[in-house]
C-alpha cells in the first residue's frame, strides 16, 4: 500500500508511482514517458514529492515501496514543473500562443518565426501539442522575445515525414518508438559537437537511414518536431472525428483511428491498446489510405460494346449479367459459371458471393486466392 494525495492505493511489486497513479485516475503530467518502453526521465515533468525524500522523484521510473506517501501536486512539484516547461518553451521554436509577453512583442515574434522558418506556417502541431497543453495548464511562457534562428534546416527530402529539429524538446519518445517499439533502429540520441540532438542513421536524413517510414515516431512525438507530410496543415484536431477501423493490407489486422474531416480521411494513427497491434502501424497502414480518393476510381458500371467499355446504368449492367448467366445456366448447366471472391473485401461480401453461386446459380465453383 502507498498513499497518493492522501488516498491509499494498493500496488503490485514492480509498479511505478506513475503506474499506480494512472490506475487510480490521479493525473500526473508526462511528456517523455512512452507506454511499454523503458522510462528515461528525460523531460522531468512527471516529478512528485515523496515524504522523507529531499529531492523530487520521477514518478515514471520510481518503483513504489510500501508506506510511501506521495504528493503529485504540491507547490514544490508545481514550481518544478513550471521551470521545466519554461526551459522547454525557451529551448526552441515554439511559436504558439505561449510565446512571449505583450501584443507587440508577440506579433514581432511571430513575424520573426515566419521569416526564420523554411516554410511560412505556424507550428503544425498547434492544438495537438503536449507542450502547448501543459504550458496552458500551468500558465508558463517561454523566455525569448525573438524567435531563435533555425540551426538545422527542415528535413523535407522524404515523402512521408517532416522533421523539424527546431521544435524538438529532446524528450526521446521517437527514439524509444523506433528502437524499443518497432525495433527499426533508424534514429538515436546523438551528439552534434557540444549539443545533443536526435540523429537519423549516421546523422544524415531519414531517407538515408534504416528508416522504413512506419511513422511510429510521428505518433509518439508530443510536439511539432515530427509531422506527417500528407496531413500537414490539413488538421485542426477539434474539427476531425476519429473512426475506429481495421487496416486493409496484410493479415495482422491492425486497429486504426481514421481522422476524418468533412467525410475525408486526412490522417491515420494506431489505436493505443487495441488488439492486436497496441497502437502500432506500418508504412502502408499509416500512409496507404488515400487510394480511395484517386480520380481513377470506377464511378459507374461499364459494359463492353464494339470492343470498348462504355458507361452504363446499374439497371442495364445488372440486367445484362443476370440475363447472360441465366442463359448460360439454361444452355450448359450451372457449372458453366465460376467465380473468384476477394480476400481484401469484408466477410459479408464473400459470404454474399458464395451464397449467390450456391443458392442462386447452384454451383460450388467459387474460390478465392486462399492458398497464395
Amino acid at each position: 500500500m502507498i498513499t497518493i494525495n492522501g488516498r491509499d492505493c494498493i500496488f503490485q511489486p514492480g509498479e511505478t508511482i506513475l503506474d499506480i497513479a494512472t490506475r487510480n485516475r490521479v493525473e500526473i503530467p508526462t511528456i517523455c514517458y512512452l507506454k511499454r518502453t523503458t522510462p528515461t526521465g528525460n523531460c522531468g515533468i512527471c516529478v512528485v514529492e515523496i515524504e522523507g525524500h529531499s529531492d523530487l522523484s520521477l514518478s515514471c521510473s520510481t518503483l513504489a515501496k510500501t508506506g510511501m506517501i506521495v504528493q503529485t501536486d504540491s507547490p514544490r512539484v508545481v514550481s518544478q514543473r513550471k521551470t521545466v516547461l519554461e526551459q522547454m518553451l525557451s529551448s526552441g521554436n515554439h511559436n504558439c500562443t505561449i510565446g512571449s509577453s505583450g501584443d507587440d512583442a508577440w506579433t514581432q515574434f511571430q513575424m520573426d518565426v515566419e521569416s526564420n522558418d523554411d516554410y511560412e506556417t505556424l507550428c503544425p502541431a498547434w492544438g495537438e501539442c503536449k507542450l502547448q497543453e501543459l504550458a496552458y495548464k500551468y500558465q508558463v511562457q517561454g523566455k525569448h522575445t525573438s524567435a531563435p534562428a533555425r540551426k538545422i534546416p527542415l528535413e523535407l527530402d522524404n515523402p512521408m515525414i517532416i522533421r523539424d529539429t527546431s521544435r524538438c524538446i529532446m524528450c526521446g519518445r521517437c527514439v524509444a518508438a523506433c528502437n524499443e517499439v518497432q525495433v527499426n533502429r533508424a534514429i538515436a540520441f546523438g551528439d552534434n559537437g557540444n549539443e545533443k540532438k536526435i540523429i537519423a542513421g549516421k546523422d544524415d536524413s531519414l531517407m538515408t537511414s534504416d528508416c522504413v517510414f512506419c511513422g511510429e515516431c510521428v505518433q509518439a512525438c508530443p510536439v511539432g518536431a515530427l509531422v506527417e507530410k500528407k496531413a500537414l496543415n490539413a488538421i485542426r484536431p477539434w474539427e476531425t472525428k476519429k473512426i475506429r477501423t481495421t487496416c486493409p493490407y496484410c493479415g495482422v489486422g491492425c486497429q486504426q483511428w481514421l481522422h476524418v474531416k468533412e467525410g475525408k480521411i486526412i490522417k491515420v494513427t494506431g489505436v493505443e491498446d487495441g488488439k492486436p497491434n497496441q497502437g502500432r502501424l506500418c508504412v502502408k497502414g499509416r500512409f496507404g489510405y488515400d487510394f480511395i480518393y484517386s480520380k481513377e476510381r470506377l464511378r459507374t458500371p461499364l459494359i463492353r460494346e464494339n470492343n470498348e467499355l462504355r458507361k452504363a446504368t446499374w439497371d442495364e449492367a445488372l440486367d445484362l449479367v443476370a440475363e447472360k448467366f441465366t442463359r448460360i445456366i439454361k444452355e450448359d448447366g450451372p457449372h458453366a459459371l465460376a467465380g473468384v471472391s476477394c480476400a481484401r473485401s469484408i466477410n459479408e461480401d464473400s459470404y454474399q458471393m458464395q451464397k449467390l453461386f450456391r443458392s442462386v446459380f447452384k454451383t460450388n465453383n467459387i474460390d478465392h486466392c486462399a492458398r497464395t
Binding site: F291, A343, E348, S350
Partner: protein, 528 residues
Amino acid sequence: MTNSFGEFSKAKMFLVIGSNMTEAHPVAATFLKNAVEKGARLIVIDPRRHKLVDFAELHLPLKVGSDIALINGIMHVLIKEGLYDKAFVSSCCVGFEELKEKVEKYPPEKVAQISGIEAETIRKAARILASVKPVMLCYTLGITEHTCGKNNVMDTANLQMLLGNMGKECGGVNPLRGQNNVQGACDCGALPNVFPGYQAVTDSFARKKFEKSWGVSDLPSENGLMIPQMMDGLVNGKVRGFYIFGENLANTEPDIKKVEHELSSAEFIVCQDIFETETTRFAHVVFPAAAWSENDGTFTNSERRVSRVRTASNPPGYAKPNWWIFKQIAQRMGHHWKSNSAQEIWDNEISMLAPNLGGIKYNRIEKDGLQWPCPDTNHPGTCVLHQDGEFACGLGVFNPVDWTPPAEVPDETYPFVLSTGRRLYHYHTRTQTGRCEGLNELLGEETADISPEDARAMGISFNDFVKVKSRRGEVCIKARITPEVPKGMVWMAFHFREGNANWLTNPAFDPQTLTAEYKACAVALEKV
C-alpha cells in the same frame, strides 16, 4: 494461426520459416523483435538473409524448396537422440511409428546434400528446438507456394507435435495470412468445397441446413472448381461465365502470357472492382464497388479475430457496396434476400450458420474483435487452439511426408532459381498502394535482386539493366545487388506490371491445393 499475436511478446522461442515478416507483416515482426530483445530465441529458416536474420541466433539458408528434407532431418535427430516430447506424443498423437519410419530415411548427412545446410547445423537446430518449450512456429508463403505446399504445411505440424508444442500458449503452428481478409473469405465459404464455417458441401446434413436457411432446394453436392481449373475452363469452354470480384488475376497468377490467353478466351467476364485493372481489360461488364472505409463490415485476421471495419467516406459516383451488387443479381434471378446491410448479413446469417462464429455479433465487437471459435454470446473467444492436447479430430495425427523437388530446377540453360514475394512499400499489384501519395517515391520500380557474388562474376553493377528469362517469358529490369539473396538466386516481386515476376513464374501447382509454385522456377540472367 493456432495461436495469437498477443503471445509473441511473451514467447520464449520462435522458429520462423518461409516468412519475411519485417516486410510482409511488419507489425507482427515488431512484437517478435521485442521478444528477442527481452531474451527470446529465434531460428530463421529461409533461403534469403532477410531483416529478421539480424535478430536470430541461427539462420539456416536452405536451398529453395528443400523444406521437407530439412524438417524431416531435424525430426530425425529429435527421434534419434530421444529429444522429442515423448509424453505429448504418446498421449495426444497417433502415427508416431509411421513418422519415425519416414524420417529414419533423412539422416542429417543426406539432408545436407539436399538442403545445403551442414549436418552439424541441422543437429544443432534440433537440439536448440528441443531445449526450449514451447517454441512458436511461424510460416508464410515460403511454405505454401510450392508444388509440395500442402506437404510442407503438414511437416511443420509434424515437427510441432513431435516437440509437444501444440495446444500451448506461445507455441503452435502459425501461418501469417497474406491478405487482410483471406482468413475471413475462407471462413465465409468462398471455397469450392465448404459452406461458411467449413461445413462440407458433400455433407447432406450441411446442405439441408443451408437449404433451409436460404429457402432453396437442391444445393449442389459436388465440390466446385479451384481457380486454376476455372482458368483452364475458360479456354476449353467448360466455363462460359466468369465473375471476378476484386482480384487482378492478369498480374497475380503465374505465367502472365498464359493467364491473358485464358482471360481473352473467355466468353463472358464480369469484374467487380474499385479501379480498372489489367484484368478489367478482359471484362464484358464492370461493376464499380465501394472500397475499404466506404462501407461497414468485418475483417478476420490471421489469429481468427473478427474486427469491425467502418465507414469514413462515401463511395465515389455510383459505386455500391459489394454485398448490395450480389443481392441485386440474386433478385433479378428470382431470389429475394432479406438482409440489407453488412450487419444484418453477419448477425442474422453468417454467425447463425457457422457454429464457430455463433457468439460473434456486431454489438460484441464495437472495440476489440473476438477470436473464433466463439460458439455462443457468452464465450470470450479463443486465443489458443487445441489447448491441452485436444485436437479437432481427437488426437493429433502425424502425416509423414517425403521431400519432392520443385517442378522446375536450374539447368545449363536456366541456371538460376527465381523466387518471388512481396516488398514493404507496396501491396500486390499496387492497385491500392500505387495510388497512395509517397509510396511510389519510396519504391518506384521492380528490380531483380541478386547476390554480390553473382553480380561480381557477371560484371553487373547496381542499377544495371539485366534480362531475366524463363521458359515462359522475359523481363528487362534493373539489378539490385544485395547480400539478402544467396548465390544462384534471383528474387523479384509482382507489384509492378513492368518487370512483374509473373511473366516468368511457373504455372505448376500443388496437386491438392492447386497453389502455384511462385517460390521456385528456373531462369537465366544476363547483363543487357
